[in-house]
């Protein structure tokens, strides 16, 4: 077996690298010119001119767009040396739309050199893990940004080398050589794009943890000092623009980014919320460019990565640190361009590889277990006795509930819309659901919104656009699905915290007015959701709400006045207003569930803990919490499902694309609130089916937890 391992591995690496080459070559020729490509091509032209005229002194004063260090731009300059010299690309502001008239014979070599860096990155990653390399090879955002004239390709490669060299040094006896390599490549990374230096933090943390374990912190500080100084020297050497005025120009380029993120109009008008990096991870460049990428792999890679996180941590801590620290940095960094996620697609791909292996292992174990489970045979007589009860109920359930859902699946395979309403209702829908089509090639008509006047079968072709619609920036929202998930997590954790807190307060012995408070707190749960939403709308609504009227009367210094301004917040602070409302809705349910759970915990446990000298916090942490969790978990998941399906709240605030349910409703709705895609029935059906698939996951988790809860009895 082992004899075949190495050749097999080499073959896998070659296949993955070839795939990466094919996809990137295709992207190089097919991708349209994007923002910034003209800038970096111009920078490359300047350097190319300097080399042609052997004007080496010119390097000291040349760095077009000086906020980014020049190394990657110099490489562009070298790459277009063999092409005929063209007039310099005109200087344009960063807000200018992409320049579509760039000379093709310059664009191609510059993009190609980038693509080669990308292929090298994939090949290198395949050395570590061929499966991870495969995921990086097909990741469409990575393909896009390493195949355009952007600064990402080179630092992505050098940062990977930095990490790999550092990891090698951990394995070797004499560490110096590999550490020097990692330090040199860190310097080169810094000389290409600052952002990629986040890996230095990850490496330092990993290094620190190792040093702390071996109680050798003083050596650690000496080592990182040398390591860092070497990286700085290399950075300085690779950045000739700095030589004339090191401090001043470095300051200028670094401070540019701080000003850019808070001041530049394109950053402001993009209006990306804080959580936008998650949106980019769930979206794919596939939906931006037709016919460039084979499939939107990105969201699936992200899902697998989430599954594999834990395994990646136990396998190689550093990759996890890289992923985590990078993501944290991107969340806090005010600028949210999609290319920034290229800084973390390498560890993401590795996590996805672990996730896939884990899923595979679980499947195997499940299959093996299934054979071992003793099956109690069904009694035929019992089944016969059940039939008279089953049949009428099943018919009713099938007609009322299952049939509509199946019908919906059928509708999602057509292009039924308000334009084809008449044809569809007069009988055109049935044949279309089973394959009938009036147009010659249904695939070519896939343009939202559908405007065919006759219903056509288009197969599963609705689903990829629908997935793109709910994951990417759309009309009113940037990433509906991510908002939906974030909303579920945040609102339920807030509700649980307050609900549990109030339950604990009321649970103390001898609290006065306990019954009264409990009765009062139940009110939000009892009031129908829409009426509650109307009440809060009356408080928070812009211009005529209570809060805004109070601001008009008493000036902007009254308490909570800041909430009013948060409606327009570009960083997504408006979610806080919704969370306040959701907290109001949901905490009573959690309070009741927690109270019911607390009553089941016997007093003896606390007496025993008190004898052991536990203080209040320890009692909560080590007694109440672990005993309460299995009882509370079903309630948390139920609240989670409610939050995931939240509809009336957003509808009342005229937020047409908050959750999947709201989106589906407003995409369906032909009149009234005026969603631009209103009347796209088949899109609405497809979104509903996607929501059903996600809820299947919820139900599986619920089943597992409620079964865990059943086994718990304390009394």
């Amino acid at each position: 077996m082992n004899r075949f391992r190495t050749p097999f591995r080499i073959l896998a690496i070659l296949v993955v690298a070839a795939l990466a080459w094919g996809l990137r070559a295709r992207a190089v020729t097919r991708l349209p010119i994007d923002f910034d490509e003209d800038d970096y091509l111009r920078a490359g032209q300047e350097f190319s001119h300097l080399i042609r005229t052997s004007d080496w002194r010119g390097f000291l004063e040349t760095n077009y767009r000086p906020e980014h260090p020049p190394l990657a731009k110099i490489i562009f300059g070298v790459s277009i040396l063999s092409a005929p010299e063209k007039p310099l690309t005109p200087d344009a502001s960063t807000t200018a739309s992409p320049n579509q008239y760039l000379p093709r014979d310059l664009v191609k070599p510059a993009r190609t050199v980038n693509a080669w860096f990308g292929i090298l990155t994939v090949a290198l990653l395949s050395l570590v893990n061929p499966l991870g390399g495969l995921f990086l090879a097909v990741h469409t955002f990575t393909i896009k940004y390493v195949s355009q004239i952007m600064l990402e390709a080179l630092p992505a490669l050098t940062s990977l080398i930095t990490v790999l060299a550092y990891l090698q040094s951990k394995k070797q006896k004499s560490k110096t050589g590999w550490l020097a390599v990692s330090s040199i490549f860190l310097g080169l990374t810094a000389a290409s794009k600052y952002l990629y230096c986040v890996i230095a933090i990850a490496i330092l943390v990993d290094w620190f943890l190792d040093a702390k374990r071996s109680n050798d912190l003083s050596r650690y500080y000496r080592h990182i000092l040398v390591w860092g100084i070497l990286a700085l020297v290399i950075f300085f050497a690779a950045d000739p623009y700095l030589w004339a005025d090191p401090i001043g120009r470095l300051k200028e380029s670094v401070f540019y980014h701080a000003g850019y993120s808070s001041g530049a109009t394109e950053v402001q008008s993009a209006g990306f919320p804080t959580w936008q990096p998650f949106v980019w991870l769930s979206f794919a460049a596939y939906w931006w460019h037709d016919g460039v990428f084979p499939f939107p792999f990105d969201p699936f890679i992200t899902i697998l990565a989430i599954v594999g996180l834990k395994r990646l941590w136990s396998k190689e801590r550093l990759y996890m640190l890289w992923l985590g620290i990078d993501l944290l940095f991107l969340l806090f960094w005010p600028t949210k361009w999609p290319q920034y996620i290229i800084t973390l697609t390498v560890p993401l791909s590795l996590a996805a590889a672990e996730g896939l292996k884990l899923t595979w292992d679980n499947l195997l174990a499940w299959r093996k277990n299934r054979k071992n489970v003793v099956h109690i045979p069904y009694k035929k007589s019992e089944t016969v006795r059940a039939l008279p009860w089953l049949i009428p109920g099943l018919i009713a359930f099938a007609v009322l509930t299952l049939f509509p859902l199946l019908f919906q699946l059928g509708v999602s395979f057509t292009d039924f819309s308000v334009a084809s309403l008449r044809d569809g209702l007069q009988g055109g829908l049935w044949p279309a659901m089973f394959g009938a089509s009036h147009i010659q090639s249904p695939a070519s008509s896939l343009e939202f919104p559908f405007r065919q006047t006759q219903v056509n079968f288009i197969g599963p072709a609705n689903y990829l656009p629908a997935l793109g619609y709910i994951t990417g920036p759309s009309f009113y929202s940037s990433g509906i699905l991510i908002f939906n998930i974030l909303w579920t997590v945040l609102s339920v954790s807030l509700q649980t915290t307050l609900g549990l807190g109030v339950a604990l307060l009321l649970w103390q012995r001898g609290v006065r007015l306990g019954k009264f408070w409990q009765l009062l707190f139940i009110l939000p749960w009892a009031i129908p959701e829409m009426i509650g939403a109307a009440m809060w709308f009356n408080v928070f609504q812009w211009d005529w709400g209570w809060l805004d009227l109070a601001i008009q009367k008493y000036g902007p210094n009254i308490p909570f006045a800041f909430l009013s301004a948060w409606w327009d917040s570009a960083s997504g602070l408006w979610i806080v207003i919704y969370l306040i409302v959701a907290l109001w809705y949901g905490f009573p349910f959690m309070m009741l569930a927690a109270s019911a759970g607390l009553k089941l915990i016997p007093q003896d446990v606390y007496d025993a803990a008190a004898i052991d000298g536990a203080d209040r916090w320890q009692m909560f942490r080590h007694v109440t919490w672990p005993l309460l969790t299995p009882l509370l978990m079903p309630a948390i998941i139920i609240r989670g499902i409610f939050a995931f399906n939240q509809f009336y709240l957003f509808q009342a605030f005229y937020d047409l694309e908050a959750t999947l349910a709201t989106t589906s409703y407003n995409v369906f709705n032909t009149g009234g609130l005026g969603h631009p895609l209103g009347g796209q029935f088949s899109l609405s059906a497809a979104i509903n089916i996607l929501a059903v698939i996600l809820l299947i996951g919820f139900v599986i988790i619920f089943n597992r937890w409620s079964k865990a809860g059943e086994g718990v009895t304390y009394a």
């Binding site: 008279p388 009860w389 089953l390 109920g393 509509p404 009440m535 005229y654 009234g672 509903n688 139900v699």
Partner: protein, 284 residues
């Protein structure tokens, strides 16, 4: 554990009062609108109490809240739709619930999974297909269509809960009846059903409340003003207010309060049972 000391008592009471304030705030915001007789459109200035205390908005809403439709008609529509939806969901689902509670048969586990899954779907995932289907049958704009949508949505939930209710009835009671010569049907009708009835009523109550307070989806189905329900008229008023602000805002407030009162009373009475039902509790 000892009774808490008085400083702790004060802190506790303060924290509870703060939470109470948070609970009351939006409700009071609506109340002060509802009792303000001076409003002729949107509120234009901040007030903590109504400018002119008045019951006039309540009288107006109890007369003709929406366009020129009488309150009685709206209430009647609401009650018809909600009762019918709850009854259908219970009546058609009860035998399936019993089968799942009492018998083992092939496909039972899968069935339970599908049941739970359909019980947690959002209403809108039934709206899309049923809108199209009922339009084909040309009954989309009738009250009957609303009944079908709401009962389709409520049925999985009701089945799940009735199953739990039947499981609480000990099997031995039925077996005793069986020995006395009673068949499945007889023992169900005379023993299990009466014992499980309170829980079944609560399940129906939840279905009723859902249909009673639902309106955005009804709003898409109904076209004639005569078929509008109480909840839908609130939504109509809200959209109207948002677009033009023509009607006094007090009407939204008073109608919301009138609508909420019966629901709140039911919740306060049945709080413990409702909590159990809504947690999809497994009584086994």
């Amino acid at each position: 554990m000892h009774k808490i000391s008085w400083p702790k008592q004060i802190v506790t009471q303060l924290l509870l009062a703060l939470t109470g304030l948070f609970v009351i705030l939006p409700i009071w915001g609506m109340m002060r609108l509802a009792f303000d007789g001076s409003l002729r459109g949107r509120p234009t200035e901040f007030r903590f109490f109504p400018k002119v205390w008045s019951f006039e908005p309540f009288f107006k809403v109890l007369d003709k809240p929406y366009q020129s439709v009488d309150f009685e008609i709206l209430l009647k529509n609401s009650l018809i739709v909600s009762f019918a939806a709850a009854l259908i969901a219970i009546a058609l689902g009860i035998s399936l619930a019993y089968a799942f509670a009492r018998f083992r048969f092939p496909g039972r586990q899968t069935g339970l999974f599908i049941l739970l899954l359909t019980a947690v779907l959002p209403l809108v995932s039934f709206m899309t297909p049923l809108y199209i289907l009922l339009s084909m049958l040309k009954i989309r704009t009738t009250l009957m269509a609303l009944v079908i949508v709401y009962s389709a949505f409520a049925m999985p939930f009701c089945i799940w809960n009735m199953r739990a209710a039947f499981q609480t009835v000990p099997k031995e009671v039925e077996e005793a009846a069986f020995l006395d010569g009673a068949g499945d049907f007889t023992s169900f009708t005379f023993i299990t059903l009466p014992l499980a009835l309170p829980s079944i009523v609560v399940a129906g109550l939840i279905a009723f409340l859902m249909a009673y307070s639902e309106f955005t989806i009804g709003w898409m189905f109904v076209e004639k003003a005569d078929n509008v329900t109480l909840a839908m008229s609130i939504y109509a008023m809200m959209i109207n207010q948002y677009l033009s602000g023509a009607q006094p805002w007090s009407y939204i407030g008073s109608l919301a309060i009138i609508m909420s009162i019966p629901v709140v009373v039911i919740f306060l009475i049945f709080q413990r049972t409702l909590l159990e039902r809504m947690m999809f509790g497994d009584a086994s």
